[in-house]
């Protein structure tokens, strides 16, 4: 922080054009020293593009704007250059070598050496020093794969700090974290701020912005919308800036008649993650599932879907006892799973939108194994239209779509088959407000058709907003099922921590 400029980073009039798309149009972003600055916008608004330009991953359009670091104009032509300039980013999918120790990860590529060999003693000491300086409670000798998600986040941050980062970008760091872990991360961020490090914070959880950020900048459709101190903003205003209109009720819920029972689970057990789970689901009902990360909630629904096989227990669908030993059997029994990790479990990323939408239903419309191409094309087009998927066309590869649109493709895949019980596992993680509301609306439509939904989320306001009942899981056991009227954040948290 040598000379006079009050700003750590100034990006002025930055434009970026991809073939066919103007991703950024003269966007300006100013980050003061020692500030936590929220960068907000819906998916596709240009946040990632802006960050990638700052990190040297992309190059801005040649004749557009300039980037100043500490008052000096710089050319950031590669990620290495960005690192040398003290810029560092921690992405949503943390990039660490899982089988190496914390210290090895922190110093990866720049290990302290003695006579050409790695100086292990010094490496552990230095790692310890970096971790302590910011009171990160992690043992430098532990293997990264043995750490909790928040600890991994800490290591990724420590890695950046060991490279003398002055500006740190945290991209959706809390997507995989539970409530208390998020608090822990926020404490660390405040420590970093005290040490004069400037932070750019990207998150879709608006409550966090108010907890931890000083200033917020909003982008929409590649345009700069505005920058304001967080203290002068309300959640509604932020949403209005992001979406361009006001969204009255974020958690969209209609009064839908709850019908007969369509799913009954009795004493479902899979050692050691699921113990004796019993519950039921009705037509038109949203059953929320709440639990801390690692509580067994995902494992429970995977058993119902046949992705894992239970050791014991019974499942009845529409009154019939069924055996679900594989996802194929689940589909036959009208059970659908929109999985937790859309990139690894939900989507065939290198394939097209059309292929993904028809991946399951295509089997049902095919004749003698031959695909019904016209039917598939019509189905995909209808999905794009109905769910308002933003894409150049149905032949776009899904890896090029934004998070919210990707999630809509996963949902489309299941809308095209006739399901009765739909399981949504964290469907709104990492997607923006507009897309979230749209997903709630899609769910409401499904409920009106007499389907039932099991909805897993770590985010309490969301569960309280859209669920009819909320089931809490702790250490593999169902610790309570609360009706909408009786559920509160405190009660749910108490049940989740099994107090």
């Amino acid at each position: 922080m040598s000379n006079g400029s009050e700003y750590a980073v100034v990006m002025e009039n930055i434009s970026k054009t991809f073939p066919g798309v103007k991703a950024l149009d003269r966007v300006t972003f100013r980050l003061k020293k020692g500030e936590i600055h929220a960068l907000l916008g819906e998916n596709g608004a240009g946040k990632s593009t802006l960050i990638k330009i700052l990190m040297g991953v992309y190059q801005k359009d040649r004749d557009s704007g300039r980037i100043l670091l500490d008052g000096q104009e710089v050319q950031i032509d590669s990620p290495i250059k960005a690192e040398q300039l003290g810029l560092s980013a921690v992405y949503q999918h943390i990039m660490l070598a899982r089988h190496l120790s914390v210290a090895e990860n922190i110093f990866l590529g720049q290990q302290p050496k003695r006579r050409g060999m790695i100086d292990w003693k010094k490496m552990y000491e230095d790692a310890e020093a970096v971790l302590q300086e910011f009171s990160l409670q992690v043992n430098p000798r532990t293997l990264v794969r043995d750490l909790t998600p928040v600890q991994q986040e800490m290591v990724a941050i420590a890695k950046a700090l060991a490279r003398r980062a002055k500006v740190l970008v945290l991209d959706e760091p809390t997507a995989q974290l539970a409530e208390e872990e998020t608090d822990q991360l926020h404490r660390t961020m405040r420590e970093l701020k005290k040490a004069g490090i400037s932070i750019i914070y990207i998150s879709h959880r608006l409550d966090e912005i108010f907890k931890v950020c000083d200033v917020a900048t909003v982008l929409r459709d590649g345009q700069y919308i505005g920058t304001k101190p967080v203290s002068e903003l309300t959640e509604g205003e932020i949403i209005r800036m992001m979406v361009g209109r006001s969204i009255d009720d974020l958690y969209y819920k209609e009064e839908i008649k709850i019908g007969r029972e369509i799913l009954r689970v009795k004493n479902l057990t899979r050692h050691p993650v699921v113990k004796n789970a019993s519950f039921s689901l009705h037509e038109g009902e949203v059953l929320g599932v709440f639990g801390l990360v690692g509580s067994g909630r995902t494992e429970l629904v995977r058993c119902i879907f046949g992705a894992d096989t239970p050791d014991s227990g019974e499942i009845e669908i529409e009154g019939r006892p069924v055996k679900i030993q594989s996802p194929t059997a689940a589909i036959e029994n009208k059970v659908a799973l929109i999985p937790e990790d859309r990139q690894q479990q939900g989507l065939a990323l290198p394939l097209t939108l059309g292929d993904n939408c028809n991946l399951i239903s295509g089997r049902q419309v095919s004749r003698y194994g031959f695909r019904n191409l016209r039917h598939e094309r019509d189905t995909a087009r209808r999905n794009v239209e109905d769910l308002r998927i933003r894409t150049p066309g149905i032949n776009q590869k899904v890896k090029f779509l934004s998070g919210g649109n990707q999630q809509k493709v996963v949902i489309s895949k299941w809308l095209n088959v006739d399901s009765k019980v739909l399981i949504f596992d964290e469907p709104t993680v990492g997607i923006d407000v507009g897309a979230k509301t749209e997903i709630y609306r899609i769910m409401a439509d499904l409920l009106k058709q007499g389907k039932g939904i099991i909805f897993i989320s770590s985010y309490l306001p969301e569960l309280l907003g859209i669920c009819d009942r909320i089931m809490v899981i702790a250490e593999g056991e169902v610790t309570g099922i609360l009706r909408r009227e009786e559920a509160t954040q405190e009660k749910l948290l108490a049940l989740a921590s099994n107090l």
Partner: protein, 325 residues
């Protein structure tokens, strides 16, 4: 969604890349045509009927094996056993015919046997969870062992004439082997692009977990892929026997490398989910052209292997360049 920017000067490289992205096979077409033009200039013999006839026949067998390999590689697997299955098929079909079995039945039984070998690889891969590289490496050795055992290591001769005549035959001047390869390729295109099985292959190559959670029957599809590959290798082995008029236990050695090279030159990714039959066919044609050209120009055949090695690496390098950014 068009590019609305009225750019006056566009970088020629950007434009080439845009064309490449729109038509991923365009580079391959340019390469094969350039090779033919150069060879036609250097050797007046190249574009004669006789040479074209040979080129067609030389491409045919590798092409047939490569169609199966394309399915395997797109699914994210690999099949090293194809060359050995060529060998064992050659021996078995010869022995059956020499011992008096009708030709059609000998062919059918040979194909069936190979399907069983493919099924065994599939079982090792799906049920025993052995990585495809290892499972088919094992089959490569075992099938070659069978070929040597059945034949006692000797070449089998006295093959019935009607069988050997097939490979010599032509239809309107086109060699029969080339026609078979063409039919196999067309069927391959249809299966890969028009059937549920074809898309399952792509889905499996992009992520096994996604495919499984989409209700794709991983067991039957995995079996199907390796059975298909074995059946096509077997077909190539039978055709080779017809061409050489003898059953040779060591035949087909190294065919797995030619097939993999054709598929990779044709734009497939060993990581899976990418590739096409047409690409593979051009890949096979490029390799055959290279061999043919070296012969015509009288260049030391050892150089040919070096050239093919370089070609494989350069082809993948160019493809990476296309995909970058």
């Amino acid at each position: 969604m068009g590019v609305a920017e009225p750019r006056t000067k566009q970088n020629p490289w950007t434009r080439i890349r845009a064309i490449q992205n729109k038509y991923p096979l365009s580079t391959l077409f340019v390469v094969i045509i350039a090779m033919w033009v150069v060879l036609a200039i250097l050797s007046p013999y190249f574009f004669t009927y006789h040479n074209m006839f040979n080129l067609g026949r030389q491409t045919a067998l590798t092409a047939i094996i490569s169609v199966g390999m394309t399915f395997v590689i797109i699914s994210g697997g690999i099949d090293l056993s194809v060359g050995s299955i060529v060998g064992v098929s050659s021996v078995v079909v010869s022995l059956l015919m020499v011992n008096g079995m009708p030709i059609w039945l000998a062919i059918l039984l040979t194909l069936l046997m190979s399907c069983v070998l493919g099924l065994i690889s599939g079982i090792a891969i799906y049920d025993a969870k052995v990585p495809p590289f290892i499972a088919t490496l094992g089959m490569m050795s075992a099938a070659r062992g069978l070929a040597l055992m059945f034949s006692q290591g000797r070449t089998i001769t006295n093959i019935p004439r009607p069988f050997t005549q097939f490979a010599q035959a032509t239809v309107v001047g086109i060699p029969s082997l080339f026609l078979v390869a063409l039919i196999v390729a067309v069927l391959g295109v249809i299966i890969l692009n028009r059937t549920q099985f074809g898309r399952n292959v792509y889905a499996m190559g992009s992520s096994k977990e996604v495919a499984r959670l989409s209700g794709i029957n991983m067991r039957t599809n995995t079996y199907g892929i390796y059975v298909l590959s074995a059946a096509l290798s077997s077909l190539a082995g039978i055709l080779m026997t017809s061409r050489l008029a003898s059953g040779i236990p060591t035949s087909g050695q190294g065919d797995e490398m030619d097939a993999i090279a054709s598929v990779v030159i044709g734009g497939a990714s060993l990581a899976g989910a990418e590739g096409s039959i047409v690409g593979t066919m051009i890949g096979a044609l490029i390799m055959a052209t290279l061999r043919n050209g070296f012969n015509l120009l009288g260049i030391d055949p050892f150089w040919m292997r070096i050239a093919i090695g370089i070609l494989i690496v350069v082809a993948v390098f160019v493809d990476q360049f296309r995909k970058a950014d």
